[in-house]
C-alpha cells in the first residue's frame, strides 16, 4: 500500500463529493432532520445535555450513510470510469482504502456539526462535555462502519439506487436486530444483541469505552472492506 497514492484517491473522491450536489443535499438533510428532532424536545426536557441528539443518530445514519456511499463504486462502474481507474498503476487495496477514507472524512466533517449544538447548549446551561466527546467517538465509529457496509453494496451493482436500498437494508438490520428479536429467550437475546450497532453505539456514547464495542465496529469495518475488495477482484476475473 502506497500512502501517497491513497492520498491522491482521497483527494479525488472528496473533490468529486463537493463537485456533485449530493454532498450538499445530504448535509442539508442531516442538519434539518437533526435540528428539528433535537430542538423540539430540548426545551421540553429542560436538561442541558445532548442525549436526545445522540439517540436519534443511529436512525439518521441508517438513511444518510447509504446515500453518501451509494455512488462510490456504482457511479464509476456505470460511467465506465472504473475501467480507467483500475488500469492505472494502482492496486485494488489502494482504491478501496482510499475511497473508504474519503467517505470517512466526509462523514467526519458532517459530525463536526455536533459542536455548534454543544456550544449553544453550554450557553443556556452547564453542559457535561464528557458524554459529548464519547458520543462523538461513538457516532464516528457507527458512521464509518455503516460506510464500509455502503461501500460493499455499491461495489455489488452499477445502479446507485439498488446500492442505496441494499445498504439501507443491511444498516437497518444491524440497527434493529435486538429490537426485532425481543421475543427470544434472554440467553439467545444476549447473543443476538451483540450484533446490534445501536447497543454498541449507546454503550460508547455513555462514556464506557469497552474494547468489545470498539472491536465490534472495527470488525464490521474490516469484514465489509475485505468483502468489497474480494468482490471487486472477483468481478474482474469472472466479469458479469
Amino acid at each position: 500500500m502506497r500512502w501517497n497514492i491513497v492520498r491522491e484517491i482521497i483527494k479525488k473522491e472528496i473533490s468529486q463529493y463537493y463537485y456533485s450536489p449530493i454532498a450538499y443535499i445530504v448535509l442539508a438533510f442531516y442538519l434539518i432532520v437533526s435540528g428539528v428532532f433535537f430542538w423540539t424536545v430540548f426545551f421540553l426536557q429542560n436538561q442541558a445535555e445532548l442525549r436526545s441528539y445522540f439517540n436519534m443518530l443511529p436512525w439518521i445514519f441508517t438513511f444518510i450513510v447509504p446515500a453518501v456511499t451509494m455512488r462510490v463504486f456504482a457511479e464509476e462502474k456505470s460511467n465506465g470510469t472504473f475501467e480507467t481507474l483500475v488500469t492505472l498503476p494502482i492496486t485494488m487495496e489502494e482504491i478501496v482504502i482510499g475511497k473508504f477514507l474519503a467517505v470517512c472524512l466526509f462523514l467526519l466533517s458532517m459530525l463536526f456539526f455536533i459542536f455548534p449544538y454543544a456550544i449553544s447548549v453550554d450557553l443556556v446551561g452547564s453542559l457535561d462535555w464528557g458524554p459529548v466527546f464519547t458520543g462523538f467517538v461513538g457516532a464516528f465509529f457507527l458512521a464509518t462502519s455503516y460506510a464500509a457496509v455502503g461501500l460493499y453494496c455499491s461495489s455489488l451493482t452499477k445502479n446507485q439506487i439498488v446500492a442505496f436500498i441494499i445498504s439501507l437494508f443491511i444498516c437497518l438490520a444491524f440497527f434493529l436486530v435486538d429490537k426485532f428479536f425481543n421475543f427470544l429467550p434472554e440467553s439467545l437475546l444476549q447473543v443476538v444483541a451483540f450484533f446490534s450497532s445501536d447497543k454498541h453505539f449507546k454503550s460508547i456514547s455513555k462514556g464506557v469505552l469497552d474494547l468489545r464495542d470498539l472491536g465490534f465496529f472495527l470488525a464490521l469495518i474490516f469484514i465489509f472492506l475485505r468483502l468489497t475488495y474480494e468482490n471487486l477482484k472477483n468481478q474482474l476475473t469472472k466479469e458479469n
Binding site: E8, K11, S20, T84, L88, P89, T91, T237, K238
Partner: protein, 368 residues
C-alpha cells in the same frame, strides 16, 4: 514486448476469446480488427489487466501480467472504448490527478507537453462533460500518454469522431507510434490500413489472420480489376475491343457501364499483368480514353473473405460436431482420428492458416 499465449476468456458460458496467441515487438503499431462482438475489447481488456484471463498467459516485457500486475500497468497506457473520464472534473485537474496517480516526475511540464501534443490548450479550463466527443477522446489520449508508457493500448480510438478529427487522431497516433508500441482496435478498415504496420484479424474469438498490412492486402482472391473509360461511344469499336479482350485467357470478366461515357471493368488473373496488352489493343482504335487505371486492392475484400469464411467454417464444424455426436457410439475411433486432425490444424501458425485460406479462395475463383 507483448506476448500472449493461448489466451482464453469465458463470460460465464460464452467463450469470448478462444485460444489466441501472438507476439508484438517494440515500436510496432498493431491493429486488432474484427467485426462487432469478435472479442477485440475483451482481448484488449485482458492485455491491460482489467480482466483476468480464464486461462493462458500474457507477458509484458517478459514478466507475467498475472504475477506482476502493477509493473505491467506501469508500462501500459490505456484508452478504453469511448474514453470514460470523470465528467465533473476540469481537463487540467483530471490530467493532474492522473499524473499524480501515475507518479509522474515534473508534473507541470508533462501536463504542458500533453496539452500541446493533444491540442488541448483551448479547453484546459473546461469541464470534461462539456467537451465534444473529439476533445474527450483527446483527453483520453493524453490520459494514456501522460505517464510516458512504453506500450499504448487504444480501444476504438476514433469511433464517433468526424472525418477531420479522425485524421487528426490518426496523425497523432502515427507521431506517437515512432517511439512506442501501439495496439489499437477498430472495425474501420481504412483506419487500420493507414495507421498500422501489422494487422491481426479476430473473428468469433479466434485469430483468422496475422500479417503485415501490405501482405494482408495481397491476399485477395487473386483477381485484379482494370477500369477503362471512353468519352465517345463507338459501338463497333468497343464491341471489337471487348471481343478481343474476352479472347485473352487471362481475362475472366468484362463489365460494361454506359452513361455519358463508356466504362469497362476488366477482371483478370493476378499473375499476368495485361495492362500492356490492353493498351496495345486500344492504340489501333479511335476511342478517346479519359480514364485508365487499376483498382486498388482493399483490405475490405480480405476482411470480408476471412471473417465470413470463418463464420461459414464455424457453422460447418458445428454441423460436423453434431454429426460426430450421432456416430460417436458406433464409431468412436473415427471420431478420435478427426479430433487429432483438428488439433494439428490448430498447431499451424496463423500465417500458414492464412495462406491456406487464400489458396482455397483462389481455387474457388478459378473454378468460377
Amino acid at each position: 514486448m507483448i506476448q500472449v499465449d493461448n489466451l482464453v476468456k469465458y463470460y460465464k458460458d460464452f467463450k469470448a476469446v478462444d485460444n489466441i496467441s501472438f507476439n508484438i515487438d517494440k515500436s510496432e503499431i498493431v491493429g486488432l480488427l474484427g467485426p462487432n462482438g469478435a472479442g477485440k475489447t475483451t482481448t484488449i481488456r485482458t492485455l491491460c489487466g482489467y480482466l483476468a484471463p480464464t486461462s493462458g498467459e500474457i507477458k509484458i516485457n517478459g514478466s507475467s501480467i498475472q504475477e506482476n500486475l502493477l509493473m505491467a500497468k506501469k508500462s501500459i497506457g490505456y484508452l478504453p472504448e469511448s474514453a470514460p473520464l470523470y465528467g465533473d472534473m476540469l481537463v487540467y485537474d483530471y490530467l493532474l490527478l492522473i499524473a499524480n496517480l501515475r507518479q509522474v516526475k515534473n508534473k507541470q511540464e508533462r501536463i504542458e507537453e500533453m496539452l500541446e501534443l493533444c491540442g488541448l490548450k483551448k479547453v484546459v479550463a473546461k469541464n470534461i462533460s462539456e467537451l465534444s466527443k473529439g476533445y474527450k477522446q483527446r483527453v483520453g489520449l493524453a490520459h494514456a500518454l501522460i505517464g510516458d508508457p512504453e506500450i499504448l493500448i487504444l480501444d476504438e480510438p476514433t469511433s464517433g469522431l468526424d472525418p477531420n478529427q479522425i485524421i487528426e487522431i490518426r496523425e497523432l497516433i502515427k507521431k506517437i507510434g515512432k517511439t512506442k508500441t501501439i495496439v489499437l482496435s477498430s472495425h474501420i478498415l481504412s483506419e487500420v490500413e493507414v495507421t498500422c504496420d501489422r494487422i491481426i484479424i479476430i473473428n468469433s474469438g479466434k485469430i483468422v489472420a496475422d500479417a503485415k498490412t501490405d501482405e494482408l492486402k495481397s491476399m485477395t482472391s487473386g483477381a485484379k480489376v482494370v477500369v477503362v473509360e471512353f468519352k465517345n461511344d463507338l459501338k463497333e469499336q468497343v464491341e471489337g475491343f471487348v471481343q478481343k479482350l474476352k479472347g485473352n485467357p487471362a481475362v475472366s470478366d468484362v463489365e460494361e457501364e454506359r452513361e455519358q461515357t463508356v466504362k469497362l471493368k476488366i477482371t483478370y488473373k493476378d499473375k499476368e499483368d495485361i495492362r500492356g496488352e490492353i493498351f496495345d489493343l486500344l492504340k489501333n482504335t479511335e476511342l478517346q480514353i479519359i480514364n485508365f487505371y487499376q483498382e486498388d486492392e482493399t483490405l475490405e475484400s480480405v476482411f470480408r473473405m476471412l471473417t465470413s469464411n470463418a463464420l461459414a467454417n464455424d457453422e460447418a464444424s458445428q454441423e460436423n460436431a453434431a454429426k460426430e455426436d450421432d456416430v460417436e457410439e458406433d464409431d468412436a475411433k473415427k471420431g478420435d482420428a478427426k479430433e487429432d486432425d483438428s488439433k494439428e490444424e490448430n498447431k499451424q501458425t496463423s500465417g500458414e492458416r492464412l495462406e491456406g485460406e487464400a489458396k482455397e479462395k483462389q481455387e474457388e475463383g478459378e473454378s468460377k
